[in-house]
């Protein structure tokens, strides 16, 4: 019994880690007023870059750094379109996701002559507990940064009342650029966690919707760091339970339908959005591009 619980707890922590990275990444960008449905894509490129670099250098740290860099690069592309060129944030986000689905397998073919994945990493080239420590650190720093720092306040105003921030002499679009880049870095590291910690290689579309689940956690957590983390843990628990229960037969010999656990996070998020359970208010200027008067 105790062992079972321990296993579920360990599994929860493992699956929560990439989710929380991505959700924190989303937090930076969305609090600054930039919708981030491209989280999924940023995770994917992060996962690929991390696996590729860890493979080449035998260092998971360099791999993670590469994941961060790739996420940031995706952030640059996204910011260029939605901030600089005022593209619709949903449309551009969808495009970035497409790009991130297509590009890594394409490169895998070129680099490794494989169909969409990287070769396996040796155990010594992979992370074990390090991402957990990293994400805990990222959470604490984010929490402190948002409450206390100058740029933390700027980012919140960029998403809530960009005109006020502009009037106070702080560049709105510059603030948003930084937030989107930071979001890319964190989502990229989240992706790295998938490929060099949770599994031993990059595989096609391995993020499997975690970017969107992170978005759901962000909404459930009312765009605040600690509640968002709690939502991630909740979703992680659901995921761990679901993995655990897969193939387990009930008394009658029928397997347990784990789909219902799978969809739980999304159903809960819809209920919250509908105001059935609690209320979650998005930053006021979320999704609106900013132009000086």
């Amino acid at each position: 019994m105790f062992e079972e619980l321990w296993a579920i707890l360990a599994s929860t922590i493992r699956v929560t880690t990439p989710l929380l990275f991505a959700a924190l990444g989303g937090l930076y960008s969305e609090r600054s007023g930039v919708v981030n449905i491209a989280l999924e894509g940023k995770m994917l490129v992060g996962a690929f870059a991390a696996a590729a670099v860890a493979l080449a250098t035998h260092s998971p740290w360099l791999g993670a750094a590469a994941g961060a860099g790739a996420g940031a690069l995706a952030g640059v592309a996204y910011a260029l379109f939605v901030i600089r060129w005022r593209a619709d944030q949903i449309v551009a986000g969808t495009a970035i996701n497409f790009l991130a689905i297509g590009l890594p397998p394409f490169l895998c073919k070129v680099l490794y002559d494989s169909t969409g994945g990287t070769p396996s990493l040796a155990l010594s080239d992979r992370f074990t507990f390090e991402p957990v420590a990293l994400v805990a650190l990222a959470l604490l720093l984010t929490w402190f940064w948002m409450r206390r720092s100058r740029s933390g306040l700027w980012v919140q105003f960029a998403g809530e009342h960009p005109q006020a921030l502009d009037a106070a002499g702080v560049g709105v679009n510059r603030t948003r650029w930084m937030a989107v880049l930071m979001g890319g870095v964190l989502a990229g590291v989240g992706g790295a966690t998938l490929s060099i910690s949770l599994s031993s290689s990059f595989t096609r579309e391995m993020s499997a919707g975690r970017g969107f689940m992170a978005l759901a956690a962000l909404i459930l957590g009312k765009w605040r760091p600690l509640p968002t983390a709690a939502a991630c843990v909740l979703f992680g628990l659901a995921d761990a339970m679901q993995i655990r229960l897969q193939g387990v037969k009930l008394g009658g010999g029928a397997p347990i339908p784990t789909q219902f656990i799978q969809i739980l996070p999304y159903v809960v998020t819809i209920l919250v959005l509908a105001g059935v359970v609690g209320q979650s208010r998005a930053p006021k200027a979320l999704g609106l591009s900013f132009r000086k008067a």
Binding site: R150, A164, A167
Partner: protein, 523 residues
Amino acid sequence: MPRTETSASGAEAPAVELVGLSKTFGSVRANDAVSFRVERGSIHGVIGENGAGKSTAMKMLYGIYTPDAGKILVEGKVRRWRSPQDAIAAGIGMVHQHFMLAGPHSALDNILLGAETSRRAWSWLPPPLRPIDRSAARAKLQALAERYSLPVDWDTPVERLPVGIQQRIEILKLLYRDARILILDEPTAVLTPQETQDLFANLRRLRGEGKTVLIITHKLKEVMAVTDRVTVFRGGKVTGGVETEATSPQELADLMVGRAVHLQVKVPPQPEPGQAALRLRDLKLTGREGGVERLKGVSLEVRSGEVVGIAGVEGNGQSELLESILRPAELLSGRVEVLGQDVTDLPTAEIKAMGVGWVPEDRHRDGLLLNRPVRENFLLGLQSSAAFSRSGLVQWGEVDAAVKRALEEYDVRPRDPDVNAGGLSGGNQQKLIIAREFERKPRLLVAAQPTRGVDVGAIEFIHDRILKARTEGAGVLLVSSELDEVLALSDRILVLYEGRIVAEFTRAQADEKRIGAAMGGSA
């Protein structure tokens, strides 16, 4: 008398001196050689009607616009701003009509935004990452608040504070940045009379401490109450500068409106008023935000063949009154009757189909599809009428014929049904709306701010049309913040004040002074 010479520098120089400022937008000369000076330690009124150019001048002073010609002197020095930040650095601050406050954040954070300080201990961090020293900010603010008697609860989210306090926060924002010259844009538009009194007391205290205050407004009563000097704008020019003590509201009004443009409406004899076209009974409505009661039991009647004008300062329930005629279902209580029928439970479409013409108060927001052609804008609201639709299909041929005729009849230019509504001038947009709403042959016409932002020629045309509707037997409800317009057109005038009808006048009794008094709440 505007003064144009450059003044002496040093301590005696005026706080602000504008010399020959001009600014043109497209073909509109918004400011034409504007010159005036503002003495230090005074409260200076800047008045004029909408579009007279007062806001443009203030925006140049604050660095939002760059002048095409002319000079700005602040405390004796010629200044050129690249952005408001330069103006702020030179000690100028502005409270915008729409507050620059983020609702969920505390007063403290709203004030210190952009001017955060940090403790020495954090100086090793890059500036944006340094923690904010909120306690130092709080101490500085507390001192300011005490000095100017502007107490504020620093930690409550500003969205939970009353509007008067929010304005106080905006003023503190300027003081926190050591502003010496404060510009307030229409500061009383959203205030209750008590809050207005408090504001004036605060402004006098600021003056006492040596600050200079500029108030942009069009309310003469307030100008008389609080200012030392007044500069009057009309048509992009300064038409006068006077000592408040030496002037009267009458003189200011003359300077503001100019006789030539003054309303000369030939009112045809009123037909015998008939049945009630609109009857409102004890309407009560609570605002969406804050739960404040916006209508506190409004009852009125508009009979066919008469124009009933609603006078009042904006924000006294006019918008809510109009809303509740279109969507009575959202009323807290009360009853709406149109042409003798209780419509309280009917949807908007059915109410309008009874023969209600509607000229919305904000035509861009509520009246037009700006990115669609004139043709579609003409059809908007008529799409289900028997004339233009059959079995769910739009009869575009008939629409086109009607549009062609209407553009001619209502003199909408260009006469092109394919051009987007957003491309028309304000006057032509309004004429398009009038054309559309008259297409129904309305028996009740509701016209809200019908001539706002409309050129002189179109104003006359629109007034004639409104009176023509009356002659043809329609009941007309006119809501306007232009008292002149209400006076010129209305057979009866009702004054709306704080969600109540506080006074009623017939055309014969109507007198600007008494109505003005009622609008100010002292009926």
